[in-house]
Point group: C2
Chain length 406, copies 2
């Protein structure tokens, strides 16, 4: 019998005992023994839960119990998840987590603490829910150079953008539905403003490069401003609008950003709809590989937490590539310097006038057909954000500017 503890008995942590129960046989095959949830750490009590007798409110008895081999930290938030994880590892206990905020913020320190104490710190469930997209960075793709990673990393925004496209609805209207369905929080900003996706692309970047960058170095743009007119324009371009998180190697430096982008239908990411996530990785040997699945949900995410637990208890994790993150904010290129192709919609001015103004700053300007009366639309390449800002100051009537995924 192998003993574990769960820190935080919420959505994911609360689902973990059920997943352990339903995977009993599989666990025995891999680990050779059963897994017992010996403690559940939470501020609350759960008198109606079949696990009520495991609930404790203090971390000390857990980390001082020599039987505990792994802690599943499913608390969310940077604090006290960080301190609790460090405390567990300093007592010789490995930690697995679904908590993207703590990994994106303190991943360097957490991995260093694991190394120092000769334990494991794994976080498969922190990106892509149940999709096994992080382990390949430590196994199958571990010997390769990762050139870029781009992904649909947030299910809530993908649900909203898919509904806007397929049902022709407004952002605010679909957001209300997502909130009613429990896909979006009452305060939806972590999702819709790209904060959640930003944390995930920080983690993916660190896995690809070993470099952990700070949140304030990563440009993140909201999807609140996307309108049905934008969605319609994308459709006329044979494309969809997706919130994309991107890491790209640029020489020794890198670009890391999250923003809504127009994705042409010939790209695999274009057909990832609803709450699904997809992570596309470009490697120097294997080329493009994409991992796709449900990016959230109680049981898929708890399943990914369990996969990390069994990797530790079977000994597999110890033989996998050991990640080491170092803070490297200086290696992130300023987002303002990154050139993009843009979709631009202008109202008021004549198409001919706009064309002329745009041609002064862009290398290539193409008019898009089918614009609504009184508006002109263009696909223009390529320009950096800094130049775009000056364009906006000098050109009246710009209604919409959206980057195109190349």
């Amino acid at each position: 019998m192998k003993h574990i503890a769960i820190f935080g008995f919420g959505i994911v942590g609360g689902g973990l005992p059920d997943v352990i129960e339903s995977c009993k046989e599989g666990i025995k095959n891999i680990v050779g023994e059963e897994i017992n949830v010996k403690y559940i750490l939470d501020l609350r009590d759960f008198p109606d839960s079949p696990y009520a007798d495991r609930v404790v409110h203090d971390i000390t008895p857990i980390i001082e119990d020599p039987e505990i081999e792994v802690v599943a930290e499913t608390m969310g938030g940077a604090h006290p998840a960080f301190e609790f994880s460090i405390a567990a590892m300093e007592h010789g206990i490995s930690v697995v987590t679904s908590n993207k905020e703590v990994v994106a913020t303190f991943g360097d320190k957490l991995l260093e603490c694991a190394r120092r104490n000769n334990v494991q710190y794994l976080f498969e469930a922190s990106v892509g829910g149940g999709i096994p997209c992080l382990r390949p960075f430590a196994t199958s793709l571990a010997q390769e150079k990762i050139i870029s990673v781009s992904g649909i990393l947030n299910g809530t925004t993908n649900f909203i953008l898919s509904k806007m496209k397929f049902e022709g609805r407004e952002f605010a209207d679909v957001l209300s539905e997502a909130q009613a369905l429990g896909y979006a929080e009452r305060d939806p900003s972590a999702d819709v403003d790209g904060i959640d996706a930003m944390r995930k692309i920080i983690i993916l970047t660190a896995l690809a490069t070993g470099k952990l960058v700070s949140a304030d170095k990563v440009y993140a743009e909201t999807i609140r401003n996307i309108t049905p007119a934008d969605i319609d324009a994308a459709s006329r371009m044979g494309a969809s609008i997706k919130l994309i998180g991107t890491y790209k190697a640029v020489g020794d430096k890198m670009s890391v950003y999250v923003c809504p982008q127009i994705v042409y239908a010939n790209k695999a990411l274009a057909s990832v709809n609803d709450v699904y996530n997809a992570i596309s990785v470009t490697c120097d040997i294997t080329g493009d590989v994409m991992f796709y699945g449900r990016g959230a949900g109680r049981y898929p995410t708890a399943g990914a937490v369990l996969a990390d637990i069994t990797a530790i208890l079977s000994g597999a994790a110890e033989a996998e590539k050991e990640h080491e993150f170092v803070k490297a904010d200086g290696d992130v290129l300023p987002f303002g310097d990154v050139p993009f192709t843009y979709y631009i919609r202008i109202s008021g001015a004549s198409a001919a006038d706009s064309m002329e103004s745009l041609s002064r700053v862009f290398d290539k300007v193409e008019k898009l057909d089918g614009s609504a009366a009184g508006t002109s639309e263009f696909v223009c390449s390529s320009l950096s954000l800094n130049d775009l800002k000056s364009l906006k100051e000098n050109l009246d009537g710009i209604e919409s500017v959206i980057r195109v995924l190349e």
Copy 2:
């Protein structure tokens, strides 16, 4: 320094030394030492290769060399790959392979031999080229029940079907182009008749269930009969035609088959085009997960071979779930009994007459709009192959029958 040998210096085996060279640094991080290709076993000589001095024509000195830890078997074909792999493992050498035929045919015996000799037998490169789609069955998804697997498993046929769709061309015409480009063999039957995909779905089924089924138990249907009229009909249905390999659990039994299917655009597999492959896995906890990438090619496939080599040399493979295949032909349901929805095109008869005839055998019959003059098209559910045969005998003018992926 870790020493390996390569059996078969063809496309994949010939690429392996280059991949080892370009992943030198990554290998050192994982394995802790460099990998040296000490022998290359081939019937031919390669006087112009920088590895000419490693080439030998006899297996004996290789398997009797105590320095050799891993053999990469990239010979293709069941024999003598099977005998050579057994000989290596009986001398305490682990074997990795890209050879789907030998795994699909003798996987049970090869894994049993590995167990008996306390070595590893890994075959990531045998399915999906460089896509890391097999290792998750031994790691991240190892504790779950796999309910179904369906995939676009052959790049050549996907290239042909994509070209037929996007360029409106005939099968024979695109096949010639694929042959000229080196995507298809001069004798294309292993690809276009579904044999290659069948071997891969046999391997995936064995990973999902532990049951290895014989090739003659797996229905495989060619794509040679797909016409531009079929592709056009699929487009009018908002779908594409793909060659799909499928495993499905049906109680304690299972269905395993390969056939061209009409795939609606809302399915992730529909947008997998050109030489790309995708493997979609449905698990009881994680739900749907899909792995996508280049399913073939010298370097991606050699990269997957290398990933297996480093997994063995780092010790990771030893801690992963140990696969055990048992022959289980009796568990495959007869394909003739599997019910499907069908697209049916009938020429000559009036639509109304056909509708009546079809309604006698199908529960549900829907007429498809936009048919060419003199033909009627229907989407009918659901019927088994056995009933379909009797339908064909009793209904004149059936031009085309294609299964629809549900």
